[in-house]
């Protein structure tokens, strides 16, 4: 950025040569991004307006969307998935982000021993493949082979153990908490970086005014890391409404029991690719994908245009 500005000033009197290098340097990224992101996105949105009519793919307008929201079975599936997805998101916002902030706050305390070790240990699950995470937790929680029942027995809590992944009331919470466990490292890292960015002078000035400990966190640090919390929330939102992998590995494509862990991603998978004797329906799958895209777009737009504009930033 600054380089080109300098170049600008120098070349102002001379006739400006064609700056073809900008296009050349942008081209690879632009082409790859277009090929693997933009085109498929446009193609998916386009497909959601088409369906197979008498064996031929034909433009059908909004009729796919009409079916999705009008057909009693499909719409029930869709609203169930959306509701589960919202719960999935709420659990992440209520557990993952506060815990991430708390851990970051503790790690940034001066004089904490083994801080680097804790930081990496908490971040490692984020780097693991979701297949490994899903499989490990499935085994830990297994009532037959798992270590959860025997560990809870050791502390006299055997009565509290239940086959959480197999019960409709608890399965979604259990899967959400597994996902929280895996991804808690991301808010922790981002908030930790934000906390380290707070200048010492500000904190020293606060201490001179007698603001220490908890009230220092609430009154000084938290307002200063609010923009990072906003970013974390948006990342969580996008990640949760695109989620699929963990549910698929832990609960299978049917997202059982009785559809209680079915989120938009798994519904999309079953509809688009089919499952066992249910045939894949590309058009309806694309329609669900389009609705997911709109939901995420709306959420991100809400953040960008409403929340982020009102957020106060502090310059040091």
């Amino acid at each position: 950025m600054s380089d080109t500005e300098i170049a600008d000033i120098e070349t102002v009197p001379v006739k400006r040569p064609t700056r073809w290098h900008i296009a050349v340097f942008l081209a690879p990224a632009f082409l790859v991004y277009t090929a693997v992101m933009i085109l498929p996105l446009i193609e998916t949105l386009r497909l959601s307006f088409f369906n197979i009519v008498e064996g031929q793919l034909a433009f059908v307008g909004f009729s796919n969307f009409q079916t999705l929201f009008g057909d009693p079975r499909l719409s029930a599936d869709f609203w169930n998935a959306l509701r589960n997805n919202v719960i999935f998101f709420i659990i992440h916002m209520a557990v993952q982000n506060p815990v991430g902030i708390a851990i970051a706050a503790m790690l940034s305390l001066p004089g904490l021993r083994f801080a680097a070790f804790y930081r990496s240990a908490i971040f490692v699950p984020t780097l693991l493949s979701f297949v490994i995470v899903g499989f490990i937790w499935k085994l830990i929680l297994s009532p037959i082979w798992g270590i959860a029942p025997s560990l809870m027995d050791l502390v006299g809590l055997k009565w509290a153990f239940a086959p959480w992944l197999g019960k409709a009331e608890t399965a979604l919470i259990a899967v959400s908490l597994i996902s929280v466990w895996q991804y808690v490292g991301i808010p922790m890292m981002l908030i930790y970086a934000a906390l380290l960015n707070i200048p010492d002078e500000v904190l020293e000035a606060a201490e001179c005014d007698g603001i220490t400990g908890w009230s220092q966190f609430w009154k000084i640090k938290l307002p200063l890391i609010l923009p990072s919390i906003g970013i974390v929330s948006v990342l969580t939102f996008v990640g949760n409404f695109n989620a699929f992998d963990l549910i698929y590995t832990v609960q299978g494509a049917l997202a059982g029991p009785n559809g209680s862990t079915d989120i938009l991603g798994t519904l999309l998978y079953r509809t688009f690719f089919g499952f066992q004797n249910q045939m894949g329906d590309r058009s309806m799958g694309a329609t669900i994908a389009a609705v997911m895209f709109l939901i995420i777009l709306a959420g991100v737009a809400l953040y960008l245009f409403v929340i982020q504009r009102r957020m106060r930033r502090y310059q040091f």
Partner: protein
Amino acid sequence: MTRILKSILFATTVLAPAGFVATGASAQTATLTIESWRNDDLPIWQQKIIPAFEAKNPGIKVTFAPMAPTEYNSAVNAKLEAGTAGDLITCRPFDLSLAMFQKGQLASLNDLPGISNFSDVGKSAWSTDDGKTTFCVPMASVIHGFIYNKKAFTDVGVQIPKTEDEFFAVLEKFKKDGKYIPLAMGTKDQWEAATMGYYNIGPNYWKGEDGRKALIAGKEKLTDADWVDPYKTLAKWKPYLGDGFEAQTYPDSQNLFTLGRAAIYPAGSWEIAPFKAQADFEMGAFPPPVKKAGDTCYISDHNDIGIGLNAKGKNLEAAKKFLSWVASPEFADLYANAAPGFFSLNSTPVKMTDTLAQEFVSWRQNCKPTIRPSAAIVGRGQPNLDLEMWRVSANVINGTQTPEQAAAETQKGLDSWYKPAK
């Protein structure tokens, strides 16, 4: 890093197929690819079946390419539509393969040498509704029943149950004894609840083919007593399943049984070979118990697997040669003994050496066979009846749905698209 990745991607996607084409053209052999969902059978095909064929037919190479069972149907459909499917397509029974034939993806096999080796019943799962055209060579059927641990039965001192009351008495005795889990089944994967539960014990209630045909004809409904009662019996299984059965998966159940921790395993005959390899105790089998002693017994003897010809395949002649070999008694003998539990549909009787498989097949003499009710005709629409039955059967065993609710839900789904022929 990404550049290396990109070049790898480029090499594997663009260059590799080119290499294949080159080698394919230079050697004058036809390579046949079999699409299948039987990934458990990969060693059987690679070590026994394919070498036997290739020894007789030099110049034809066969590759067995299985994939995950639940993904098979959609994947193979996508491949057929894109024209990248293998020459030979393993056929699911009834409606799924029929749809492929109607779309022109599977070729008619009426004039295939050897297709006459099968009876109409054997071919029924892969023929058009009028029975005139057959589009897959029948390979095998599977029989449902219960496999039990003989050692556990002598330990606790119980006999093979013949009636339902005896069955629950046996389960009760195992539960009291406490050494064995009475029934090894879980509901997490859902399909076992229907396939090993509802489809297994159900035929005794809806009287096999009579009930199944009446359902198709619209004379019976899933909410009739004959169709609700099996759910009621299933609901009674709950106390005899292992701790935390709600989170018990299919492999969990298999392991519980083969490790000797469970007494009875609601089974399909396809379990025989893997169980034989795992378990170090004697196993026996019994058919689903009847309600009262002396009742006619019905068993689910389901045409499960066939093999068809990709109509747009590249090596039609070689593929037909392979298919007529599959239709021969030689293949029937090879397959039935290599994969005990997959019973040949060939008219020529096959001698099986496996005692457990013989036990299963012996039920055919006294019991009337039927197929799974959701497979033919009523399995064609949306919502898919088979998947619905998986879900409600699991719900009934979990106790989250009453048998009546379960039946009403499946009937409602069926009513939404199925109009029985008048």
